[in-house]
């Protein structure tokens, strides 16, 4: 049996990773749940944020790395949005095209290096650790940094969605006709929505790289599915008709819960490479579950019909 301390440490690591992922989940909460766009550029944008953040941190500006990564995310989101709103590229394809191009962009940024180590440079986490040294919270510095950042991000998102612009973004995902008849251009709202959401994704990637003290060119691979799985888990606890702040909280909790369950599965000897398969299965179950449930009576009837023959 593991000691309580070890379980706590396991939980803390899972919560830290969950909070880092929560930023990508909040990003998808905006693009997928609110704007009704499945933004497949997420994987590339996550890595882009990680690359930009790592470069700025290595250059000696760890705090500047966060806004720098977010700015890169805004640019990436702007390109994805422009492709789908002004250039006639289908929404899913626009995301895939941008993700593919971002691989080259990321490689170019890092000077054709697939990894960047941040072992010897200060990161936001190492600086927080130094700042909290000799206090009782020293062991929780990473968790505290992440809690503050995620709380700020969630607060910003909720406040943003209550503004007229935020309402217009939500309406764009719900009924674009109505947005137009309210004299608002859906092209504009889609663009702003994707810029903001990709800023969150890039910030998430930036913090992930700094937390691992390592940038790796494939670190964003499959991120969209992992985040979507977390988002849908959150949706189980907070239904769609609930107020937006509760749903955002649900998204964050979903991300943490996902990581905790995953950490437990690893403890019980699930190989680490299973993460993505598990995420995929969760996404499929969450999306097709309600559909299959609605089909179940019909399936049962047909089964009965074929067993008992026409007269039944």
């Amino acid at each position: 049996m593991m000691s309580i301390d070890k379980w706590l440490a396991l939980g803390q690591t899972a919560a830290e990773l969950g909070l880092v992922n929560a930023l990508t989940v909040l990003s998808l909460f905006l693009s997928y749940s609110m704007l009704n766009v499945c933004d497949l550029s997420t994987d590339g944008c996550f890595t882009l944020g990680a690359a930009v953040g790592a470069l700025v941190a290595i250059a000696g500006f760890p705090w500047l790395s966060l806004p720098a990564a977010m700015l890169a995310g805004v640019v990436s989101g702007f390109v994805t949005a422009t492709l789908q709103t002004r250039m006639g590229v289908q929404s899913l394809l626009a995301g895939i095209v941008v993700k593919t191009a971002l691989y080259s962009v990321n490689m170019a940024l890092t000077g054709n290096k697939a990894t960047l180590s941040m072992n010897k440079v200060p990161t936001v986490f190492s600086m927080a650790k130094t700042a909290l040294k000799d206090t009782p919270l020293a062991g929780q510095s990473t968790l505290i940094v992440m809690l503050v950042i995620v709380a700020l991000a969630a607060w910003f998102l909720c406040a943003f969605l209550k503004t007229k612009l935020g309402l217009a973004i939500r309406a764009t995902g719900s009924n674009a006709d109505m947005v137009r008849s309210s004299s608002i251009n859906p092209t504009f709202t889609t663009t702003v929505g994707l810029c903001v959401s990709n800023a969150f994704t890039a910030l998430s990637g930036c913090l992930m790289a700094q937390q691992q003290k390592n940038f790796e060119i494939n670190m964003g691979s499959g991120m969209v599915t992992v985040a979507l799985a977390s988002l849908l888990i959150g949706g189980v606890f907070v239904a769609k008709h609930r107020p937006v702040p509760l749903r955002a909280l649900g998204a964050v909790l979903g991300a943490i819960l996902f990581r905790i369950v995953y950490a437990l599965a690893l403890r019980f000897n699930m190989p680490a490479f299973m993460l993505k398969a598990v995420s995929s299965v969760i996404v499929v179950l969450a999306i097709s579950g309600p559909y299959l449930r609605s089909q179940l009576p019909l399936i049962l009837r047909r089964w009965k019909y074929s067993r008992e023959g026409r007269d039944a």
Partner: protein
């Protein structure tokens, strides 16, 4: 107020599916007019509305609104002065958002970063209570929970919250049950007359085409074939209208929806 000059629109030009939806349509609408529009399915009534709203750009001709040429103005910009209701009550509001949030967008008050204030909420309440449907007590509920009639009444309120220069009604009561349809129609008349909004209304109900407003247009195959107002209109019966249609188009007006409502 509104003027269409030789407007043409052809869909799928140059293919076997080619459809000349509007053929050289010219129309002058005076300030304060309430015009009813009738015609068989596919006559071009909704296409005429789409052209006015800017859902597409017309192939030729021009559209003037309040003396301004809006032929090439995008739809969302024209929406500032045009309100529109569709037959489908679901089209006018966002189902996932609350009544209050829908109204906030339609009201168009404040800048991009403004939020719904207590005074906005009070104004919404007052306007909602005028509908007499109890919606003022359900402002936080998602619009998706409302019935078709309630949603159409809400859409009417949204479309006229900022008083439009012109209101386009595309069979906006046709999908509602008779009682609700009557109520929504009464609300429409009340709001239109109160704010003196210029109004165009497509209907399949011949009686209300004659009862409502001061002018009636009949459309067929992308053209306005009959335009009647004043004394001539006052003396018209449904029988006269169907006879007129037969004379002008060489067909009988045998749309079963119209027959049912004679």
């Amino acid at each position: 107020m509104l003027e269409l000059r030789n407007v043409c629109k052809t869909f799928h030009a140059g293919t076997p599916d080619e459809k000349r939806a509007l053929i050289d349509v010219s129309l002058q609408v005076a300030d304060g007019d309430f015009i009813s529009i009738i015609g068989a399915n596919g006559a071009g009534k909704s296409t005429l509305f789409n052209a006015i709203c800017g859902s597409f750009f017309v192939d030729s001709g021009s559209i003037l609104l309040d003396g301004k040429n809006v032929t090439m103005t995008p739809e969302h910009q024209r929406a500032r002065v045009i309100g529109r209701l569709f037959q489908d009550p679901m089209r006018g509001s966002a189902p996932d958002m609350s009544i209050e949030e829908n109204l906030a967008l339609a009201a168009g008050i404040g800048g991009w970063l403004s939020r719904v204030s207590a005074s906005d909420r009070k104004a919404f309440r007052e306007r909602l209570s005028l509908l007499g449907m109890g919606l003022e007590d359900r402002m936080r509920q998602p619009v998706g929970l409302l019935s078709g009639g309630q949603r159409q009444a809400l859409t009417l309120l949204m479309a006229t919250y900022q008083v439009p220069k012109i209101l386009l009604l595309d069979e906006h009561t046709a999908a509602l049950d008779p009682g609700t349809a009557e109520k929504v129609l009464a609300l429409t008349r009340q709001i239109v007359s109160e704010h003196r909004i210029t109004c165009l209304m497509i209907t399949h109900n011949m009686q209300s085409a004659l009862d409502l407003g001061n002018r009636t247009l009949m459309m067929d195959q992308g053209q306005i074939i009959y335009d009647v107002t004043g004394e001539e209109r006052a003396g018209l019966t449904i029988g006269d209208l169907t006879e007129k249609f037969r004379q002008l188009s060489g067909k009988t007006l045998d749309n079963d929806r119209m027959l049912l409502r004679k």
